[in-house]
Amino acid sequence: MSRVPRASGYFRIDYRQDFALVQTARERIALAVFAAALLVFPFLASPFGLDLACQVFLACIGALSLMLLTGYAGQISLGHAGLLAAGAFTAGILFRETGAPFWITLPSAAFVGALLGVVFGLPSLRLRGLYLAVSTLALHFVVVYLGGEYETKRGFSTGIVIDPPSLGPVALTDGRAWYFVLLAAAAATLLVCLNLARSRTGRAWQAIRAHETVAEALGISIAGYKLLAFVISSAITAVAGALFAYYRGFVSVEAFSLFLTIQYVAMVIIGGMGSWLGALLGAAFVTLFPYWIEAALFALPGARRYAGELFAVNFSAFGLVMILFLMFEPLGLTGIWRRIQNYVLLWPFRQRHGSRQ
């Protein structure tokens, strides 16, 4: 777990304190301010801002689940878009074929995700590293193919349309309502992840990531915990996919390309491997990135002529940013943030150069 920099004079004196999610008064205040800002935001923001926030929350759920798998359990997956697609298609197909409501399709998506998690996770019992990544990549193509097959066979060749769901008496058509639903979902996911990570399960995952043989010698069931990581992560991802389908009101295989997987992997990398804060920062960064690029295109003189090929500009810039992070800041945005925190905490003294957590 990445260490949060703290001012001197703070000591933990028992394990309960060590496990506490929020430890110091300053953290409590910061968290309260942040929560208040999140609650006030929808009443001040434009519809466009609301849409962006909703997209960030959806990305947060997906990025957190990938961080759980890759950053904590150390299992590499390149099949994230496939799992999102599985969740979205479960919701879409159930809605189209049976007219099932929100509260049935979401758990079904989680269930399908968990099942697929077993399928995606089984190769991890034999394979490691590169080969595991490749097998999940292959499964991504299989899932997307099945989705496309359903679309063409049932005659929804352009995609499946889903009506907005209703929570009790309120139909979720309004951006503000969606904002709160997705905020709650993202917060719940974060809480689940945090609690998993500081429990026996999370410690077992970190042990497996650090050294499998040693973990096994410590009595950790490698196969069981690996599969559990895949199952939990996939279930969360599938729910994120289903929420995405409802939010967009539309499911189509085109949305779940390999590029989406790469985007999620990039969130984890850019955010900072092994850190929950990193997952959130990475999700926000990657989601908002295309909009920054667009804004930059229209602001910079001479860049406007590329506006017709916005996606190509996006691809180039995105690839470049990912390369730069991999080369120069392996700890990602979290690393930068921690260094700023350290700088402020230690001011006016300087942190010794090169001391990274």
Binding site: L127, L137, E309
Partner: protein, 290 residues
């Protein structure tokens, strides 16, 4: 009979692309997921040189190949050399990022429209009548022959060439190789440039045969299972893998469902990973296994 010809052509395409994956993996243990994009870039380089030397297809081709060699060296020096010492996964992700970057750059420079380098070079592509009414286009035939030549050359180079032996040594044990005075960076740079060169060659021939858009990346990605099925560090394996994947793909498309085209190579890949993860001819002990 046409089916058999189709299988041979597709197998040749996959084999030609797959040996690029194998070359880089065997020498530097990095899986180059940007190979499809590098191949596409090579094909677009031909489009660029075609407008420079429009009357001389051979000069244009040679110039494009020389450029692609340079691209390979640049990729190593600017990107992959800096990733040495990082986790293998970081290096692989760097290639993924490079792929995304190239996709964008290619569209920005050459636009997303379909290009026909064969028309620009004013070379014809007449079908050749083979036995029993089966046909093969000229460039597809050239591609099959090229694949044979490239593989023969690679075998000879790695077996007898001074640098070929160095490459094998670096692949087997980088530390010992460096101790014996082999310049590892030069060897890796050579592997990357050769791999890019061969990939570009494949890309150019495919583009000459059937036109060029950015969807060519998909072919590059589908050739990857061929490399893995055969064993990621074996050239003979790449040939066998390409044959298996191409046969499965052509037959399943023909008899079952055309939509299967993009997924068959990956189904074969999954089957192989379950049964024999190191591939047909790969070396099992080198696999990072539990």
């Amino acid at each position: 009979m046409q089916l058999a010809v189709n299988i041979v052509v597709l197998a040749a395409i996959y084999a030609l692309i797959a040996c690029g994956y194998v070359l880089v993996y065997r020498v530097s243990r990095v899986l180059n997921l940007a190979h499809g994009e590098l191949m596409m870039l090579g094909a677009y380089l031909l489009v660029a040189t075609a407008s420079l030397f429009s009357g001389h297809p051979l000069i244009a081709g040679a110039a494009a190949l020389a450029l692609s060699l340079l691209v390979g060296v640049l990729v190593y020096v600017l990107l992959m050399q800096r990733m040495t010492g990082e986790m293998v996964l970081a290096a692989v992700l760097a290639t993924v990022a490079l792929g995304i970057l190239l996709r964008g750059v290619v569209v920005l420079v050459w636009s997303a429209q379909q290009q026909y380098p064969a028309q620009r070079l004013a070379v014809a592509n007449p079908p050749i009548e083979l036995f029993a009414g089966a046909r093969i286009s000229t460039f597809a035939a050239v591609l099959v022959v090229t694949t044979g030549v490239v593989y023969a050359a690679l075998f000879a180079f790695l077996r007898f060439g001074r640098w070929g032996v160095r490459m094998r040594a670096a692949g087997q044990n980088p530390l010992l190789a460096a101790q014996r005075g082999i310049n590892l960076h030069a060897v890796y740079a050579l592997a990357w440039s050769l791999s890019t060169l061969i990939g570009s060659l494949a890309g150019m021939l495919i583009a000459l045969d059937s036109g060029l858009t950015s969807t060519m990346v998909t072919i590059g990605l589908k050739a990857f299972p061929a490399a893995l099925v055969g064993g990621l560090d074996s050239f003979a394996g790449a040939l066998a893998g390409a044959a298996i994947v191409a046969t499965a793909e052509v037959l399943l498309i023909h008899y079952v469902d055309p939509l299967l085209a993009d997924v068959v190579p990956f189904l074969v890949l999954i089957a192989m990973l379950v049964v024999r993860p190191w591939g047909l001819f790969g070396t099992p002990e080198e696999l990072d296994r539990v």
